[in-house]
Amino acid sequence: MQIYLPIAEMSVNIFLILGLGGGVGFLSGLFGVGGGFLMTPLLFFIGIPSPVAVATEANQIVASSISGVLAHFRRGNVDIKMGIVLLVGGVLGSTFGVWLFTVLKGLGQIDLVIKLSYVIFLSIIGSLMLVESVRAMQKRKKKVVSKAHYHNWLHGLPFKMRFRKSRLYISALLPVAIGFVVGILAAIMGVGGGFVMVPAMIYLLGMPTSVVVGTSLLQIIFVTANVTILQAVNNQTVDVVLALILMIGGVIGAQFGAKFGSRMQGEHLRGLLAIIVLGVCSKLGYDLVAVPADLFSLGGGVGH
């Protein structure tokens, strides 16, 4: 069954979109990740214009992260104070990101920047995860205990704040900076940014793992909401019809994924996710370097 997307201005098969939402939802339930970094490239692959894919995916992430954060709130796994500090950086970063997005779109370079960002981040994250999961599999045999976190120059910065829930006394500049970087990524790549923020919170801030996911989700809700509004205002690229279909597929898929995931070992899951991430990354990377079918492309109308 075909459905016409009012903002993307194209006709797509509704079951294909539901399937994509379901598939990525399954993976995000399985691996406990947001899934934006998989969904947005998949939307490119089926021909959704990249500005629409990025803005719409931000809208979908609002839904998935609200549903996630509610579960973490009930278990008390959210550091609200830390979330707000991260958010200050996040709102600044995402506002800057959408401005940058609009400028790059005008220059005709947005497609390239989005795809390059994906190739860079997916290759780094994918390889790190792969290495880490292989090590964890070896460690399981050797039983080596590792240190929680290290003290370094980052802990000497000013504006120190106490975060009781995270049992930390650190400079507020650090979480603001992390939030800022993640905000830019959210705006340009159409992701929540959990895949960058979670490692940063654990390794740079030294937050306890138990509160990391809930707190990052809290930040992601507001950052992606900010991106949604700014993209809607500046570029009119948020397709609510597409977002809604993705949300429905995602919710159903995540249910199955979470059930399935509880039966698998953590490091095996991460290893599998790493392979998927590297697969998507190589496809995007190949498309950037392969000789295009047509060197010329239409950049859309001006002032129609």
Binding site: M10, A63, L112, T228, V233, D294, L295
Partner: protein, 250 residues
């Protein structure tokens, strides 16, 4: 249902042939299977039937033009192994859609002068670069690239012989509008060519519009974009909350 309507329409037209002789000889009667193309939720492209009666003998060529706008054409070049958009040319007066129908190859009956004046044939569309270019050959490659891209998007199309005569005067053609249409007013020009001259001519207008939910969402997103963004977030919030409630039960 459509077929019945077409049949009735054709019947009325055959009836009109008799009157046509009595009426002004230079007038072509042209009508469309639908006066308006509606883009609704289920829209995946549509076929439009154009039919009419020629006032005399000759060849018929029909040109369908979408709304005109300026179009950016970009060229990729390799920079450190990656293909990057490097140069761009803005072409003015580009029809968003350009379809032709004729009963035989244009070379067989249409003099070049008429084709040029009336912009019949893709090579005669007067799209011009927004800035003056010294290197004519260079911007011509951009112009060809635009036409090629539009053809790949099924927005520019022509095949000789896609218009058929039923008897001497009655003609009919089917034009396919793809789903990636631009909305606006489309012009349909019908020419009757006889002995290398335009014997009769008629312009028909066709409206392409978004309808219902599609129109509502599109207009809302463009006219009240802030409210649209807020609404998109509310929808997402509701969906997320409902998903969570469903999760908790299971």
């Amino acid at each position: 249902m459509k077929k019945i309507l077409c049949f009735i329409a054709l019947f009325l037209l055959i009836d009109a042939i008799a009157d046509a002789g009595a009426a002004r000889a230079s007038e072509i009667t042209v009508d469309l299977s639908e006066p308006i193309v509606k883009i609704t939720t289920g829209f995946s492209g549509t076929d439009l039937l154009i039919f009419g009666v020629a006032p005399g003998e000759g060849d018929v060529v029909i040109v369908v033009r979408g709304p005109i706008r300026d179009e950016i054409v970009r060229k990729k070049e390799q920079v450190m192994g990656v293909w990057v958009n490097r140069r761009q040319v803005v072409l003015e007066n580009v029809p968003s859609l350009y379809m032709m129908a004729s009963n035989r190859d244009l070379n067989e009956f249409l003099p070049g002068g008429i084709a040029y004046t009336h912009q019949i044939g893709v090579e005669n569309i007067r799209m011009t670069p927004a800035k003056a270019y010294a290197d004519v050959e260079d911007w011509e490659t951009f112009r060809h690239a635009l036409v090629r891209n539009k053809e790949n998007q099924n927005l520019y199309h022509w095949k000789p012989g896609n218009l058929v005569f039923l008897g001497n005067r009655l003609f009919r053609t089917k034009v396919h509008f793809p789903a990636n249409l631009t909305v606006g007013t489309f012009g349909i020009d019908t020419y009757l060519i006889k002995k290398g001259e335009i014997a009769a001519y008629k312009t028909t207008l066709l409206n392409v519009r978004k309808f219902g939910v599609e129109a509502g969402i599109y207009n809302f997103a463009h006219r009240h974009s802030f409210a649209y963004g807020v609404l998109a977030i509310l929808v997402a919030g509701l969906a997320g909350w409902m998903a969570n409630a469903a999760f908790r039960k299971s």
